[in-house]
C-alpha cells in the first residue's frame, strides 16, 4: 500500500526524533548510573527502550507504505552536565515531540490518510504523558528544592 510523500516524510521525521530520543535517554541513564542515581538510571533506561519501540512501530509503518525508513539521520542529542540540566533537556525534547506529532496528525488529515493519523494519535498520547510527568517533577523541584528532589532519584 503506497503512502503519499508528505506522510512518509513526516513518518521519517518522527523516526529521526525517536532514534534521537533513544540515544538521549540512554546516555542520561548511564551518566545517572555513573553518579549512583540508580532509580533515575533505571527510569531513563526504560524510557530509552520505550522510544525504541516507538521507532520500531514507525519503521514498520513506513515499510508498509512502501517508503524507505531513514536510519542514518539524528537530531541534536542533548547531553546535560548535571542531573537537572539533563532533566530539562529531556523535557524540552518531549515537548518538541508533542508539537511534532500534532503537526503529523494535521498532515495526515490533509493527505486523507486516517490510518497513519490514528497511528500518530496513539504515539501522541504517550508523549503527552511523558510531558505531563516531567512537568510534575519540575513543579515538585521548585516546591521542595534541588537537594530533596535529587534524593528521590538516588
Amino acid at each position: 500500500m503506497k503512502g503519499t510523500i508528505a506522510v512518509v516524510d513526516i513518518l521519517n521525521e518522527a523516526l529521526t526524533a525517536e532514534l534521537t530520543a533513544v540515544n538521549q535517554y540512554f546516555i542520561a541513564s548511564k551518566m545517572a548510573k555513573n553518579w549512583s542515581y540508580n532509580k533515575l538510571a533505571e527510569d531513563y533506561y526504560q524510557e530509552s527502550l520505550g522510544e525504541m519501540k516507538h521507532a520500531e512501530a514507525i519503521i514498520e509503518r513506513i515499510l508498509m507504505l512502501e517508503g524507505v525508513p531513514n536510519m542514518q539521520r539524528l537530531f541534536t542529542v542533548g547531553v546535560g552536565e548535571t542531573i537537572i540540566e539533563q532533566f530539562k533537556l529531556n523535557y524540552e525534547m518531549e515537548k518538541a515531540a508533542v508539537e511534532r506529532y500534532r503537526r503529523a496528525v494535521t498532515i495526515c488529515l490533509e493527505e486523507a490518510d486516517p490510518g497513519t493519523r490514528s497511528f500518530f494519535e496513539g504515539i501522541l498520547r504517550d508523549e503527552e504523558h511523558h510531558v505531563d510527568d516531567a512537568e510534575g517533577e519540575l513543579e515538585q523541584l521548585t516546591q521542595i528544592g534541588e537537594a530533596l528532589w535529587l534524593q528521590k532519584w538516588v
Binding site: T76, V79, G80
Partner: protein
Amino acid sequence: MLVCHCKAVFERRVRKAIADGARDEFDVAIACGAGTGCGGCVPTITRLLRETIGETAQNAVKGNRTYVDTR
C-alpha cells in the same frame, strides 16, 4: 551542555570562542574543534552564534566564504 560529541566540546568552550572573536562556524571550528567531526552540532553552533552576536552581524562577516553542506 555538551555541544560537539565528536570532539567533546562543551557549550561554555564554544561561548568562550565567540567571546574571543569567533564570528562564524569556521571561526568556532578553528578555535575549539567543535563541528569538525560528523557535523551534527553545527546547527547548535549556528544558534549559539545567533544568540550572542546576532544574525545581521554574522551574515555581514560571512563575505566570500562558501559553505557546503556535506551531510
